[in-house]
């Protein structure tokens, strides 16, 4: 359906040549824009209707006071289904610390949350198929779980800003949500407006990069430099490139689509996606309010190494 629409717009109306670079790039752009935005609106609306979006307050209640392995599994699982905007990272971190949740568990949550969320998962399935989605989600959950355990070994308590320990959270009952059908619709529609207005720039940028890659980068160059699994430098290169670049998990999907289409190895692509979604300079600057520089360096280092292992692992076994 979206393919037919893009064919009509690009080749019929605009009269571009399907064999040209420009034609291929514009076709990719039109098709992915239509497809991703339609999917975005539908998923967010349905999730909003179900009110499946958990609040951080509830997550905190679920995780606190549990044995560590269970707390960590819950934190990773909930991190994966809750798309929190990175501006909530700081109150979330403080709230977790205040509830006595171990720091390692908090880190597990902070890793899982930006990397995996239900919106990204549905779009991943739609664009790249369920097999790749499964690999991405399984690798992401593992990295979050193990990454938190490793962070704990560094005794991260010493890197938390002092004022964080002093904050005392009030116990105020939050207002009950309106669960009538009209209330649900209003809530769901607001979610659509809010999340789409927050995401669209990242998604369009991602599609544009994907389209340029798809239309202009010659396949031979890719297979020679990035496709060869024996070229073990490709994975660290992809991770390093992903750190300063920032997009959210949804925006990076069209880029991955174009990379895979040109024959970039699966592990290299997965490592690149994770690095872009979970490690970024803006996110680190926000976390700097609660964690000192050495702590952030350890966090970045642990994650970068984990992503490389994921990349090499998948390249080895696929």
């Amino acid at each position: 359906m979206f393919d037919a629409l893009a064919n009509l717009v690009v080749y019929q109306w605009l009269g571009l040549d399907p064999a040209s670079h420009l034609g291929a790039a514009v076709h990719f752009f039109v098709m992915d824009t239509a497809k991703i935005f339609v999917m975005l609106v539908i998923i967010i609306y349905v999730m909003g209707l179900l009110r499946a979006l958990l609040s951080p307050e509830k997550v905190r209640d679920y995780v606190r006071g549990k044995p560590k392995w269970m707390a960590r599994s819950t934190a990773v699982g909930l991190g994966a289904v809750t798309p929190f905007c990175s501006c909530s990272s700081v109150p979330l971190f403080i709230g977790f610390v205040e509830a006595g949740i171990p720091l390692g568990v908090t880190f597990s949550f902070l890793i899982a949350s930006p990397m995996i969320n239900e919106v990204a998962v549905v779009i991943l399935i739609g664009i790249l198929g369920w097999e790749l989605t499964l690999m991405y989600v399984a690798a992401g959950l593992t990295v979050a779980y193990v990454g938190g355990i490793i962070m704990e070994r560094f005794k991260p308590e010493r890197w938390v800003e002092d004022y964080v320990w002093k904050i005392h959270m009030g116990q105020v009952a939050l207002p009950e949500p309106d669960t009538s059908l009209a209330g649900r619709h209003r809530y769901a529609w607001n979610e659509v407006k809010e999340i789409v207005s927050r995401l669209w720039k990242w998604v369009v940028a991602g599609i544009a990069v994907g389209a340029l890659f798809h239309g202009y980068v010659p396949e031979g160059w890719v297979t020679e430099h990035l496709g060869d699994k024996d070229n073990w430098l490709a994975v660290p290169g992809a991770v390093l490139l992903g750190v300063p670049l920032y997009s959210n998990a949804t925006g990076v999907i069209p880029v991955a689509e174009a990379m895979l289409g040109k024959g970039v190895a699966i592990g290299t692509t997965l490592a690149f996606m994770m690095s872009i979604a979970a490690l970024s300079v803006p996110e680190l600057i926000i976390l700097r309010k609660v964690i000192k520089w050495p702590g952030l360096a350890a966090f970045t280092g642990v994650l970068a190494i984990a992503f490389m292992l994921v990349g090499w692992g998948f390249n080895l076994f696929t």
């Binding site: 905007c85 909530s88 109150p91 002093k166 009030g170 939050l174 607001n190």
Partner: protein, 76 residues
Amino acid sequence: MKNIKVLGSGCRNCQTTYDLIRKAAEEKGVPVQLEKIEDIGQIMSYGVMSTPGVVIDGKVVHAGGVPDRKTIDAWL
């Protein structure tokens, strides 16, 4: 006069919420004392982790997102 506090550490949604409430109050001609709370310690003392949050006369009425116009009108 109602005292309304918007809780938020300075992200865009918090500013939007603040502006929406100010506009709604002006249009309805309801006198309000509107404040913005940006200190994270104070925000957390209300038990709110998901910003923006809204507190009216000391009671948390909203948290975790920009409230819509109908909800704001109901508060006023």
